[in-house]
Symmetry: C2
Subunit: 886 residues, 2 copies
């Protein structure tokens, strides 16, 4: 059978969406189900393809088929084009096989002209109605088919006449004439009076819009092939605006916010859909229909059930009631919140509609995150200050503070605070812990602020370019406002919006549906999911969210709190290894306690501890801070009146200048590529040694308390296998010392973080020493692309806009570059050592698209921030199911 | 025939160096040549191997052979061990197949004891001589064979008795007793009296020293296998210290500094070699021997010729004359300067001794550099201040200056200056141009200072860690001195030494021998050699040194001079594209002139111009400079007495603070990975456009003047193929504009610099747009290894010391990491486009070891700083010859 170019709804095969388009297939399906759908036919994608084959001509053969279909429609409806006793009006809509913004949309009321408008007025006894329809038709047709700018037709007189309600027939008649005149002036054509001509032009316009610029750009962006083509559906009009027994509405078969079963939606009596959109009248909840027309309501409930079973998903249904008769105009899978998605998926399994596998696929991993964070109430009317990059989801309010110390002290005084900084550094950590939310004017979604905030499940917005922080004066400026310390602001990390004042937030609930769905997901996935957590609290959160271990514990955060930073600075200033060791010995018992707490939280699960990574200067005070103090003291000096004061001030200046000199000595042009990672451990083996002792002493103590430990010691930033060998030996020696002293031995392993291209390229050699490798894809992205994550927010958005890259490579892994290195590294290391464990501990470990890539790259586990663990579990399940390997 | 464990010189096969050791083979060869060599035998490496097989025992069978060899020696010499009428004395020396520091060296006069010492005294009529020999023997034996610390034996009485000349026999007798007592106290043994025992212990000691710690460490470092083993040569003693008709000396067959033919060396009458070394007496030039003993001198000349012809190279010969009889003790290839190496190689070809191919291989490329720079006079006695890394060879003196501006103004005032900085930036460029030499306290051999200095062929020492620059007070401190502005210093860039005061330098001469050798080299090499040059002067120098084009012209240096930097800063501060274009239009004509001059210098050769690369903030003044000015003004403010002054000062402060804010906005955490390279061209297409117009306008003008141009426009720092496509389009449009305007079209090509791992990994895709690619191996090393070249000098030396890496990866390419990317990139891009041109434009382009790697990596050309061009040409020839592909 040849592919039909035209088919009526009843004859079409609803499963052939490629031929019928999404809209046409939906209508055909409803027709096949025996549901009350206004009759109509589909001009298929095959016809569109033929149209382009003949360079934009509707062939005689196609037009013959359309005419036959119109005749069929006339027979079915008992109406006819230009029949003044029963005029046939139709809607014409585009409908591609995939959802396609940018194309021509809808022309309603096609078939009207002066004569049929009058006739319809006579028939309905409501010429205001029929002429209003006609005016709308002329306007839509002019804009959509003839390509006149919408503003030109919607503005001026039309706007005047329609803005307060439906115009009279006389007024509409005037408007129609004016519109035709405008259209003619603009295009040299008017809207034809003959319905056949109207239809022919409308079909050609839909076909033509497939190749307009916006549609082509959209397809390029989304990777949709040009040769899918669009179909056109032509359907008899029904009218909800014909009196009190008519109306129109939209219903969801389940609550799209909560997923709760039961009709949810709106109904507007004596109205067309357009009126709802225009906001001229306020619709009522759908339950109102139960009182107005119990029969129609019952019918709607039953049809909703039927459509749900048939389409195997919660539906979003458009309907019209014309003189008490219910017509369904469209049905589609309902859009829903993450929370609703979970509940609907689980309920549909319990109702026997879908399988567990399908339920897992029904929930998008990225939507899952919504469940885990409080949300800024969506429909708030608060003043929006500025927008940045949504770095960590959730919503929080608090008073603006500009330093970490202030964040802590105000929090201790009982205030909720939002920390606002140009950017953050590890020095700000205590302030970030204290704050409810973090805002930075610089940095991208993987900047320090973003990473740490996500790790803490704390709401964060970064890269607010229009927000200028003036920390000195304790204020920030936006184009519209100046916010000073103490003012309340609200941060919406889900959308990236900052509001002035307090906006209420909605708390998340992790219900049993969530647990059920995650259990199903876990049954499918191949990848393990661990969490990046630096302390026992985060570890406990991660564990409660299903983490199967800690994939990355960054020990540097342990060096900042309280007296530790003092000892750390002593160590950095130490003139030799002995003095360094002495300073380290003050830190060692504290680190040991930290590890003990962490291991206890993760009883029975593996914990990967990364040795000290950041360059030492990060632990020193900021240069500018000290320099400003020096300047202040020098200013005081000019006002000093006694020799004692002068001497005192000079002494202070001297001391500060020595500190400055030390900071200068340690300062680096490119700290990212500087003296950090295992390079520190090679230069100062006593640091590695101290950390290894702390980890393994904690492990021994845990085992003595019947806590099962699996410590994995990770050497960071290895470029050369010999670096790892060097560190391996130091750790091994420290282990021997601890086990000897404690009289107890613990199993542990030593591995490395692959975060430099050279390490990935030489993974075969590195794997000779490493028992596990974990790809630090953040730094690997920075080095492979030569792209600083802190600095690139200035130009990366432009790159995405210009389509030089498809997405931020710090969010979704760059498959051709960084991904190629990950694959090479994983396979080369496994060649050397088949038992090697391979993981991902960069931000990409929590990104669904990246997780899919890792699933295919022979990786054993991904590790992500605690609050992304469920996202990663679900994404891993999706990857496995889509791979057919579940 | 079984491998002999012992063989006399005459029976040995001189070509079997592996068996005889280097020393033994040389003696066997001279013996075979009929030259007067004291008789002797060799205990071979096979014997040493057997010694280790039996765990350190000299087997009876070996000892039997040694005894037979001793008997043979006794027959040959007519002397015998312990024969009081003709006592046989021998030397025992180690001699491995390769030169091996760290092993036992030499025991002379073996065979002496109380009786033979007396007998020798009687025979020679000189008991002072014989007992002095005996004392020396006891001392050497004690130290070398019995392992007593040398100081213990050389100090005290021995020192007292010998420091003023030869002791009397009586004194020596006393010393021998004392020495034996010391040795016995220390070891429980004395030096045995029996010559056979002496010999047996000495041979065992030589064998044993093969496995001492120093020798093992040396072999590990040099990659010498342990199972080469060492031989022992045992040779009859001859004595140069037996009166005026005796003596000892060392001669070179050609001058080792200049290569001039003719004996060159020293002779010391009535002496043993030891006396020369001890510096007790000053030897005479060898020509003195012509007067003292014309026959011996003639003989020496003839033997030198004979040895040269036989060994096919200039020789370094040790000899002794005993009672008028000339004996040769050793010959080996003479060590020589680069200049001598060239002359000797060319002369030997002209003399028909070696082939051109051999001549090319005889000169080490790295030594060639010495010929191209003035040198600090080697034997100066000036005070050495400090040592750093030798970054760019040559020597220069001048007065110390601490800012670029001062360097310029003092140079203009007629002074020679040395610019001393903590480190340099592009801002210092004009000062570097003006200075005779550059010294920095920070940075490695590929730091900005080093790279720019080498590019200019200017002497430079970097990373002087013990040199603290205090620019504010215009001075620097070293551990021993403080040098203030105006003091003279001398910089030796060849050794990395800084001297206080002026040290004379020696100017280089590029003679016809150099040209001849380079012509031969060019006939062998496959790789083309281009130069990195930024202006027509450097280009002309490069061309005179044989460059076949410019592989890298860095256009950013063109933005710094005079009014250009003003326009550049205007551009950076410009609020929009129009203002930017306006500022750029001031630079365009100047750039056009620059390119015209450059193309003219390179008439007929290709010139690769790289578009603007550094981040824009490099063109702004330094933050600290402005901040200091602000501080100064604030201090002035406190002393201001009129409102007018206050207002004036506040105005200035305001203006500076605005500039500071701009600097802050543009500042980056990791500029190396920041907004630079083609990222600038993507953000500000008008910069690319301006540069393309300037390049092509210059090209058109040149062609009109009959100058042949081959411009190659290089887009820097591409990570994504789409970036190159974007820039390609802008350049193409600019070209069309220029060609249209000028009515003349020029052939040009567009390519890219591969300096990021991602670019190398995706070279196949990039090659679709690029007509050439050039690997920027400096930045590729930084990103692949995650190693900042500016910051790594702090720990890289430690890495080399700890043998984590074998060499500085910024000097010699890291083959497994960066090299792997280069190979992948070259082959992948050639797969896409077989005609693509591939080059290297990092510092590695001038490094011989790296050039060998590139020769094997399907690279078309290397590009290096002008003064390294000859080095690269020679290294490329070596690579081709060694490859067998010449």
């Amino acid at each position: 059978m040849p592919t039909p170019q035209v088919t009526n709804f009843a004859d079409a095969d609803p499963s052939d969406k490629a031929l019928l388009g999404g809209k046409g297939a939906g209508l055909a399906a409803m027709t096949a189900e025996g549901l009350p759908v206004p009759a109509g036919f589909i001009v298929t994608t095959a016809a569109c393809s033929a149209y382009y084959d003949t360079e934009g001509v509707i062939s005689n053969s196609l037009w013959d088929q359309v005419e036959r279909a119109v005749t069929g429609l006339e027979e079915q409806t008992g109406k006819a084009f230009d029949d003044l006793s029963r005029p046939l009006l139709v809607s014409v809509r585009s409908g591609a096989p995939v959802s396609m913004p940018g194309m021509m949309d809808t022309v309603l009321n096609l078939g009207l002209n002066d004569a049929t408008a009058d006739a319809l007025g006579d028939l309905t006894g409501d010429p205001d109605f029929s002429w209003d329809c006609y005016r709308r038709f002329i306007q839509m047709y002019g804009e959509i088919v003839l390509g006149v700018e919408g503003d030109l037709l919607r503005g001026g007189k039309t706007h005047e006449a329609t803005r307060l309600g439906r115009p009279t027939a006389t007024e509409s008649r005037e408007l129609v004439r004016d519109l035709q005149r405008s259209i003619s002036n603009r295009t040299g054509h008017i809207v034809p009076a003959e319905p056949e001509k109207q239809l022919r032009q409308a079909i050609a316009a839909v076909f033509g819009s497939w190749m307009n610029r916006r549609a082509i750009a959209y397809r390029q962006l989304e990777g949709i092939p040009d040769d899918l083509f669009t179909a056109v559906t032509v359907q008899a009009m029904v009218f909800g605006n014909t009196g009190p027994t008519s109306g129109t509405g939209v219903v969801f078969t389940r609550n799209p916010t909560t997923g709760e079963p039961g009709l949810w939606g709106e109904y507007l009596q004596d109205a067309q859909g357009e009126d709802v959109v225009a906001g001229l009248r306020t619709p009522q909840p759908i339950q109102a229909l139960a009182d107005l027309d119990p029969g129609a309501y019952e019918q709607l409930v039953a049809m909703g059930d039927q459509l749900e079973r048939h389409n195997r998903d919660s539906q979003d249904i458009e309907f019209t009631i014309e003189h008490g008769k219910l017509w369904l105009l469209q049905t589609r899978a309902a859009k829903r919140t993450g929370r609703a998605a979970v509940r609907v998926a689980v309920d549909l399994v319990n109702e026997g509609v879908i399988s567990e596998r399908e339920a897992v696929l029904r929930v998008s991993p990225s939507r899952l995150e919504e469940l885990l964070h409080p949300l800024v109430q969506p429909d708030n009317t608060t003043v929006e200050l500025v927008r940045g990059l949504p770095a960590s989801p959730g919503g929080a309010s608090g008073i603006a503070v500009f330093t970490a110390d202030e964040a802590v002290s105000l929090t201790e005084a009982g205030h909720a605070v939002v920390l606002v900084r140009t950017e953050t550094s590890p020095d700000d950590f205590h302030g970030m812990v204290a704050a409810q939310a973090i805002v930075t004017s610089r940095g991208g979604v993987t900047s320090h602020a973003a990473v740490v905030a996500r790790g803490m499940g704390k709401c964060c917005v970064v890269g607010c370019e229009d927000l200028l922080v003036d920390a000195e004066h304790q204020l920030f400026r936006t184009p519209t406002a100046t916010v000073t310390a103490g003012d309340h602001i609200t941060v919406d990390g889900t959308t990236g919006t900052i509001y002035l004042g307090e906006v209420p937030t909605v708390e998340p609930v992790l219900d049993s549906d969530f647990e059920t769905l995650m259990t199903w997901a876990d049954n499918f996935r191949r990848l393990d999911v661990r969490a990046n957590a630096d302390n026992s609290h985060d570890a406990a959160v991660a564990r409660s969210l299903g983490a199967q271990g800690i994939g990355l514990c960054r020990t540097e955060h342990m060096f900042f709190e309280g007296e530790r930073i003092v000892a750390m600075r002593q160590m950095i200033m130490a003139p030799n290894a002995i003095a360094r060791a002495e300073a380290l010995s003050k830190i060692e018992p504290l680190q040991t306690e930290d590890f003990e707490a962490l291991f206890t939280s993760m009883d029975g699960l593996p914990v990967t501890v990364r040795l000290l990574d950041p360059p030492l200067h990060e632990f020193l005070p900021h240069r500018n801070e000290i320099a400003d103090q020096v300047t202040d003291l020098k200013l005081q000096l000019t006002g000093a009146t006694t020799l004692a004061t002068v001497n005192e001030l000079l002494g202070q200046i001297n001391h500060l200048e020595e500190t400055l000199a030390q900071i200068e000595r340690l300062s680096e042009s490119n700290p990212m590529l500087g003296h950090r990672g295992c390079r520190l451990g090679v230069s100062y083996p006593e640091i590695t040694s101290m950390q290894a002792r702390a980890i393994l002493t904690a492990a021994v103590r845990c085992e003595r308390n019947d806590i099962s430990v699996q410590p994995e010691i990770m050497v960071p930033l290895v470029a050369f296998a010999a670096e790892l060998e060097h560190q391996h030996q130091i750790v091994t020696e420290a282990a021997a010392e601890v086990f000897q002293r404690e009289g107890h031995t613990v199993d542990y392993s030593i591995g490395t973080m692959i975060e430099l291209p050279r390490a990935a390229l030489t993974a075969a050699e590195i794997a000779e020493t490493a028992e596990f490798i974990s790809f630090g894809t953040n730094d690997l992205t920075q080095t492979t692309l030569g792209l600083s994550r802190d600095d690139s927010s200035r130009f990366l958005p432009g790159y995405v806009r210009r389509q030089i890259i498809q997405s931020d490579p710090f969010q979704t892994i760059d498959q051709s570059g960084v991904g190629a290195l990950v694959r090479h590294g994983a396979s080369a290391s496994r060649n050397t050592k088949p038992t090697i464990k391979t993981g991902i501990c960069g931000e990409h470990g929590g990104d669904p698209a990246s997780i899919d890539f890792f699933h295919h790259s022979d990786i054993d586990y991904v590790s992500c921030s605690p609050y992304r663990v469920p996202v990663a579990r679900l994404a891993a399940a999706h990857a496995a199911i889509n791979d057919g390997r579940d």
